[in-house]
Amino acid sequence: MLEIKNLHARIADEGTEIIRGLNLTVKAGEVAAIMGPNGSGKSTLSYILAGREDYEVTEGEILFNGESILEMDPAERAASGIFLAFQYPMEIPGVATMEFLKVAMNAQRKARGEEPLKIPELLKRVKEASGALNIDMAMLKRPLNVGFSGGEKKRAEILQMQLLEPKLCVLDETDSGLDIDALKIVSDGVNALRSPDRAVVVITHYQRLLEHIVPDSVHVLYKGRIIKSGDKSLAMNLEENGYAGIIGEAA
C-alpha cells in the first residue's frame, strides 16, 4: 500500500536534510510502528507523507497504492485516502467542529465524484462515531480544537479519521498528553479501523501506545533512516534497553 524508496528530504527554507535515504513498505492490513528518539525525523516523515510544503523531497519516491504522491497537494493526498492524526491539532477559530466535519467529508466525496452526504445521514454517522469515542454533541458545536483539552483534541482527530475512512492512517505521537483512560478510548478507536484493506502507521516515542495498538511491524528511525525493523518484540526490547543499543549496533 505504502512504499517509500530511498527518500531524501530537507527543510525547504534552509536546506537542512532531515530524511536521509529512508526505505519503508507497509502492506494493506498492516499496522506499522515507527519509533525513534527525539529529533530522528518521525514527525517530519508524517508531514512529508501528508504533503507539507515546508519540506522538499530531493530524492527518492513515495508510492501510495503504486502511484507517486509527490506531485499531489495535501488536499489531493487526503482525498486519495491518506489521513494524518496530528501531534498538535490546529485550532480553527469560528469554525464549528460539526461544520468542519461536513465540509471535509463532502470535499472528499466530491473529489471522488460522489454526491454530498445528506444531513440526516451525516448526523447519523457522526453520532455513531462520537458515541464510541465519548465525544458529546456539545463539543461538536464548539469551534474546532479551540479550547479543547489535550484529550479532546486527540479524540477529535480519531473521530475525523473514522468519518473520513482513509486507506492509510498516520498517527503522529497520538499518545502524547493522554491519560490512561483517554489512551484506551483512542486506541479502541484506532483498532476499530483495522481492516484488511487499510494500513496504519503509528509514530511514537514510547512503547506504551503499542500495548493498546499492537503492531505487525516495528521500525526504528534514526537520523532520517530506518536502522532496524522487526516485529513487536523489537518495541519491547527498546522499552527495556533504550535506543542506545540499537543505535550503536547500526553505527
Binding site: D73, F86, K102, L140
Partner: protein, 511 residues
C-alpha cells in the same frame, strides 16, 4: 427563502472576474441630461412632484456643496471625479410610480429575480423552504443554518432601481401595525411633517461633501416609521441596483423608531459590470427615541471593478444613527465585499442616557479595491456603551483600512466601549491598516481597544487541507471562521449569502 438558495447556487458557478450581478437590463429609461446644475435639481424635484420646501432644501444644499471641497483624508486614491459627467436622474420609463406588482415592468421583475430578491409577496409567503433546510434535529450545524429552524420569516422589500423606488411589498400588512414603509419620494408627498421633522436631523444637509451632494440630488430611497411601542412585524429590506451607464445613485434613507419601537432593516446593493467608474453617494439617517431599537444590516456588493482595477463603483456613503432617546439602541452590521472604493463610516451618536451603539463589520478587498471604512461612536449621554467588532481581509493588490473614532464627551459619565479590530492579509501585495481615534474626556470612561494583524497560518491551512479540503475552500473556511463573530449578527436572510460572497470575493487570491 428560495431566492437566497438560488443566489448561492449561482454564486458557486462563477469566478472572481465574472461578477455575478454584472448583467445589464434593457429597460427603457427616462433620463435627465448629464451634469449638475439648478435646473437638474428642479427637474428631479418636479419629477418627484415634490413640495416647494423640499426643492428649497435641495437648492440650499447645492449652494453649500459648491463651496465645499472633496475630502482627502481617507486612505483611498482615485482620479478626480467629473461631477458634470454623471446622470443624476434615471428612471425606468414604464413605471411612473407603480402601486402594485402588476404594474411593474416584467423585465425589471426578472432583474430582481436574477438578483435573488424575493419581490413577489406570494413567493415570500410561500417561503417555507429555507437555505440549510436540511436542518438537523440537534441543531449542531453552523449557527447560520440552525437559525432557519425558526421557520419562514417574512421580509418586506423596497426595491430601488437607479434613481427610483420601483416597488414596495407588504405595505398593507405593515400599515395595519402602524408601520410606514415606502419610498422616500412617497414619504415626502404623503408624510411631509414626519420628513420635515427628521430629514437632515442626523446627517445635516451639508454634513460633508458627498452628503451635501446627496441632499441636493437624492432621487429615492426608503422611508421607515415605526410608531411608539410597535415591534415591526417583519424584516424590512431594500435592494439597490445601479443599472444605467454613467449614472450616479444618490439614495436617501430615513428610519425613525419611536419610543419603544423595534425594527430590523436590511440593505443589499449590486450594479452591472462596467468599464467606467460609477458614483454612489447615499445618506442614511436613523433616529431611535426612548427604548427604541434599530438594527441595520448591509451586504454591499457593488461591482468592484475587474481584476486589473478597471471600472467599479465609488461608494461614498454617510450613515449615521442618532440614539436620541434614553435606553435606545442602534446596531450597524455590514458586509462590504464590493465597490472599487469604499468610504463609509456608519456611526452612532449616543445622546440618550443608557443608550447603546454597535458596529459589526466585515470588509473584504481583493483585486485593486480600496476600502476606508469604520465607525464613530460618540458618547454624549450618561452610562452609554458601544461595541465595535471589525474584521478586515485584504487580498490581491487591495488596500483595506479600518478608521474608527470613539469619544467620550466631558459629561458622558460611565461611557463604555469595547473595540476589537482584526485584519487578515492574504498575499504580500496588499495592505491592511488600522487607524483608531480614541478620545476620553471623562474620568469614568472605560475604553478598551484591541487590534491585530496577521495572516492565515500555514499550519492552519495545512491542517484543513490534510482533511481533503482544497486550498481555496480551506482559505474560505478559515476566513469564515475569522469573521464568525460578525456573521452571526446578521439576520438569517443575509448570513448564508454573506458567507458565500466572502468566499467568492477572495477567489483567485491564492496561488
Amino acid at each position: 427563502m428560495p431566492a437566497v438558495q438560488e443566489t448561492i447556487d449561482q454564486v458557486r458557478l462563477i469566478d472572481v472576474d465574472q461578477y455575478k450581478y454584472g448583467f445589464e437590463t434593457s429597460i427603457e429609461m427616462d433620463k435627465a441630461p448629464k451634469g449638475l446644475n439648478e435646473d437638474i435639481i428642479r427637474f428631479i424635484s418636479a419629477k418627484k412632484d415634490e413640495p416647494q420646501w423640499m426643492l428649497d432644501w435641495r437648492l440650499d444644499a447645492f449652494e453649500r456643496w459648491k463651496t465645499q471641497e472633496e475630502p482627502d483624508w481617507a486612505r483611498v486614491d482615485y482620479p478626480k471625479i467629473d461631477f458634470q459627467d454623471i446622470y443624476y436622474y434615471a428612471a425606468p420609463k414604464s413605471t411612473p410610480g407603480p402601486t402594485s406588482l402588476a404594474e411593474v415592468d416584467p423585465e425589471l421583475l426578472r432583474t430582481y429575480e436574477k438578483l435573488g430578491i424575493p419581490l413577489r409577496e406570494q413567493e415570500i409567503l410561500a417561503g417555507v423552504k429555507k437555505p440549510g433546510h436540511e436542518e438537523s434535529e440537534d441543531g449542531v450545524l453552523a449557527d447560520s443554518e440552525s437559525q432557519s429552524a425558526n421557520g419562514g420569516r417574512r421580509v418586506a422589500v423596497d426595491a430601488v432601481f437607479d434613481s427610483v423606488s420601483v416597488v414596495t411589498t407588504f405595505k398593507k400588512e405593515l400599515a395595519k401595525a402602524g408601520v410606514i414603509f415606502c419610498s422616500i419620494s412617497e414619504a415626502i408627498r404623503e408624510y411631509p411633517d414626519l420628513v420635515k421633522k427628521y430629514l437632515g436631523s442626523v446627517v445635516p444637509q451639508s454634513d460633508n461633501y458627498y452628503a451635501t451632494l446627496n441632499s441636493a440630488v437624492f432621487t429615492d430611497g426608503s422611508f421607515v416609521f415605526v410608531p411608539k411601542g410597535v415591534r415591526c412585524p417583519m424584516e424590512l429590506s431594500t435592494y439597490f441596483r445601479i443599472n444605467e451607464k454613467n449614472t450616479g445613485q444618490f439614495e436617501r434613507t430615513l428610519i425613525i423608531a419611536e419610543e419603544g419601537a423595534y425594527v430590523s432593516y436590511l440593505e443589499g446593493c449590486t450594479a452591472p459590470q462596467r468599464d467606467e467608474n460609477q458614483l454612489h453617494a447615499a445618506v442614511v439617517e436613523l433616529v431611535a427615541l426612548d427604548d427604541a431599537e434599530i438594527k441595520y444590516s448591509t451586504v454591499q456588493n457593488w461591482y468592484p471593478g475587474d481584476s486589473q482595477g478597471k471600472g467599479g463603483i465609488y461608494n461614498f456613503v454617510t450613515k449615521r444613527g442618532d440614539c436620541r432617546g434614553d435606553r435606545s439602541k442602534i446596531s450597524w452590521t455590514q458586509v462590504e465585499t464590493g465597490s472599487a472604493i469604499t468610504w463609509k463610516y456608519p456611526s452612532c451618536i449616543l445622546r440618550g442616557d443608557d443608550s447603546r451603539g454597535e458596529f459589526y463589520s466585515i470588509a473584504v478587498s481583493n483585486g485593486y479595491q480600496q476600502i476606508d471604512s469604520g465607525t464613530k461612536m460618540l458618547h454624549l449621554g450618561k452610562n452609554t456603551s458601544s461595541r465595535i467588532i471589525s474584521k478586515g481581509i485584504a487580498a490581491g493588490f487591495s488596500q483595506n483600512t479600518y478608521r474608527g473614532q470613539v469619544s467620550a464627551h466631558r459629561k458622558a459619565t460611565n461611557a463604555r466601549n469595547f473595540t476589537q479590530c482584526d485584519s487578515l492579509l492574504i498575499g504580500d501585495q496588499c495592505g491592511a491598516h488600522t487607524v483608531p481615534y480614541i478620545e476620553a474626556k471623562n474620568a469614568t470612561t472605560q475604553f478598551e481597544h484591541e487590534a491585530t494583524t496577521s495572516k492565515i497560518s500555514d499550519d492552519q491551512k495545512f491542517y484543513v487541507m490534510q482533511r481533503g479540503i482544497p486550498e481555496e475552500e480551506a482559505i474560505a473556511l478559515i476566513v469564515n471562521g475569522f469573521v464568525k463573530d460578525v456573521i452571526q449578527e446578521l439576520p438569517m436572510e443575509f448570513a448564508v449569502e454573506a458567507q458565500k460572497l466572502i468566499g467568492i470575493s477572495l477567489e483567485g487570491s491564492v496561488g
